[in-house]
Symmetry: C2
Subunit: 289 residues, 2 copies
C-alpha cells in the first residue's frame, strides 16, 4: 500500500457515507441453521461454517459500510483451521474494497510484539490491529514500526465499553485518569505521522457507553481516529456516539457486531434479508452527511 | 484435571526442585541450521521447523524444569500451521509431565474473553494463560470462570520487565501505583479459590528487572504465585529474583527463554548439549532447597 492509513480510512468512510464499521464475531451457536446443517460440529466444521457465514456477511454488508472488524477470538476458538478462515475472511474483505481492523487486542514487547505485528500485517494482512497499552511505550512502538512499513494503522485501547472498564482505566493520578494518560500517549504517537486528512495512524478505542468521556476525549485528541464499540447490541445509541465526531462528521468509526450480523434466530430462513436491513438502518443512522 | 492449579504448580516446582520455567519463543532466524536446512523457508516450513525444535527442546529441558511457557506470538507468526504446531508442543509438554503456561497475554470481555479462554484451556489445553488486565474486572472474570471448570490458572500482568513498562503501570493514585492496584485485584481474585498449598489460582506477572518492586509485591500478595520474566537474557540475575520467593522457597517461577533455548549460534552442531548445559545451570541457580 502507498496511501497513509488515516487517508485510506477517511476515504473508506466517505465512500460509503457512513461511520458504520461491521464487526464479525462468528459464533457457531448463532449461525443460521441453513449453514450449520451443512457442516460437522467439530472444530473443522465450525471453522468452515464460520468462514462461509462471514464471507456471505461481507457481501451483504459491503454496500453499507467501508470498514469491517473481524474478532480474532472467535476464529481462534475454532483452532488452527479457524485461523485459516480468518485469513480468507480478511482477504475477501480486501477484495470487496473494505478496510479491515483485526480486533485481536495484542500486547507484548520487543521481538514478541514484532512477531504479532508481522502476523497481523503480513499473514492476516489487516489494515489495522487493536492493541492493548498496559505494557507501556515499548509495547506499542514495535507494532507501530511494523505498521508504518506498509501504511497500516493501530487502534489502542483507551476507554473500553464494558461495565467493569473503570476498575483500572478510571484510576486518577493528579488531574488525569489513566485513560486520559493513555489517550495523551496515543495523541503523541498519532502526531508523529499525520496523513493528508490531518489524522494520524494511531487511533483510540473509546466506548459508546460513556458519552461524556467520549465527548471530552474528542476534544482532547483532535487528530486521533476513534473506534467506538458498544453501539447497538451493547446499548449505545446513535445519539450517544454523536460526541465522537468532529464538526466535519469525520473522526470516528462506530462498530456494531451482533446488531448487524445476528439480527435473526438460527432457524430463520430470511437471515440474509435481516442482515441487509440491519446494515442499511445502522448505516443511515451513522451517515456522515 | 481434578487437582487445584496452584497445587499442581507447587508439585511441579518441588518435583524438579527448581523455580525455573523455560520459555519457548521459536524464531526461525535463531533455529539450528541442522533443523532449518530440512525445511522450506515459507510459513509451512517455518512452522514445521519451529515445532521440531520445540519438541526437541522439551525433551532436553524436561529433567531440569517443571514448567514451560510457550510464547504464542512466535507460533502465530507462522500462520495457521503455526497454531497446529503450538497445539502439538503443548500436548507434548503435557505428556512429559510439564505444567504449561500459554503466554498469549489475551485481554477481552464477555463472550469474546470466553472464546479466548475456551481456546486456551480447550483447544491449546494449557494449564495456565497470561492475561492483560487493562479492560478491567469483566476482562478477567470470564477467563477465570472457564479456567476454574477444569482447574486451570491465570497469570495477570502486574509489573512487567520491559524498560517502558512504567509509562502506565507506575501511574500513582493516592498511595498506590497502578501496578499495586492491579496486584491487589489479583490478590482478591486469587483469594476466592485457594488450593491446599495456600496459593490461589490467579498469579501475577512481575518482572525480575525491578527487584525492589518484586520485594514489595511479594509482601503485599502473600497468597499469589508470581511468574517472573526478565531473568537471564533480559538482564535479571538469580540475586535479583530472590525477593520473589516466600520464606519456604515457593511462590515464584522464574522464566528464561533465549538464555536456555538459544545459547548457541545457528551454525553450532552442539546446540543440544548447550541447551542442556544452560538448563542445568539455571535450574541449579534457582533451586528451591
Amino acid at each position: 500500500m502507498s496511501t497513509h492509513f488515516a487517508d485510506r480510512l477517511t476515504e473508506a468512510v466517505l465512500w460509503k457515507n457512513t461511520a458504520l464499521c461491521v464487526g464479525l464475531d462468528p459464533r457457531w451457536d448463532s449461525l443460521p441453521r441453513q449453514i450449520r446443517e451443512r457442516y460437522t460440529t467439530d472444530l473443522i466444521g465450525a471453522a468452515a461454517a464460520c468462514e462461509v457465514f462471514c464471507l456471505r456477511v461481507l457481501e451483504l454488508v459491503a454496500p453499507f459500510c467501508g470498514v469491517v472488524k473481524p474478532q480474532s477470538a472467535f476464529f481462534e476458538a475454532c483452532g488452527p483451521t479457524g485461523f485459516a478462515a480468518q485469513q480468507k475472511v480478511l482477504a475477501r474483505a480486501r477484495e470487496l474494497g473494505l478496510l479491515t481492523i483485526l480486533d485481536a487486542k495484542r500486547g507484548d514487547i520487543a521481538s514478541t510484539a514484532t512477531a504479532y505485528a508481522d502476523a497481523a500485517f503480513g499473514i492476516w494482512d489487516a489494515d489495522a490491529l487493536t492493541v492493548n497499552p498496559y505494557l507501556g511505550r515499548d509495547a506499542v512502538e514495535p507494532f507501530l514500526s511494523v505498521a508504518r512499513k506498509s501504511d497500516r494503522g493501530l487502534f489502542v485501547l483507551v476507554r473500553t465499553s464494558n461495565p467493569g472498564a473503570g476498575l483500572f482505566q478510571d484510576v486518577k493520578s493528579g488531574e488525569r485518569t489513566l485513560y486520559e494518560i493513555v489517550g495523551d500517549a496515543v495523541a503523541n504517537w498519532s502526531g508523529e505521522n499525520p496523513g493528508k486528512c490531518g489524522y494520524g495512524d494511531v487511533g483510540a478505542v473509546v466506548g459508546a457507553t460513556h458519552p461524556k468521556e467520549l465527548q471530552s476525549l474528542r476534544q482532547r485528541l483532535p487528530g486521533v481516529w476513534f473506534l467506538v464499540p458498544g453501539y447497538g447490541a451493547q446499548g449505545g445509541s446513535a445519539a450517544d456516539v454523536r460526541a465522537a465526531f468532529r464538526a466535519d462528521g469525520l473522526g470516528a468509526i462506530v462498530n456494531s457486531s451482533r446488531g448487524i450480523t445476528f439480527p435473526f434466530q438460527p432457524d430463520d430462513d430470511d437471515w440474509e434479508s435481516k442482515i441487509i436491513a440491519a446494515a442499511k438502518k445502522s448505516a443511515a443512522e451513522l451517515a456522515i452527511k
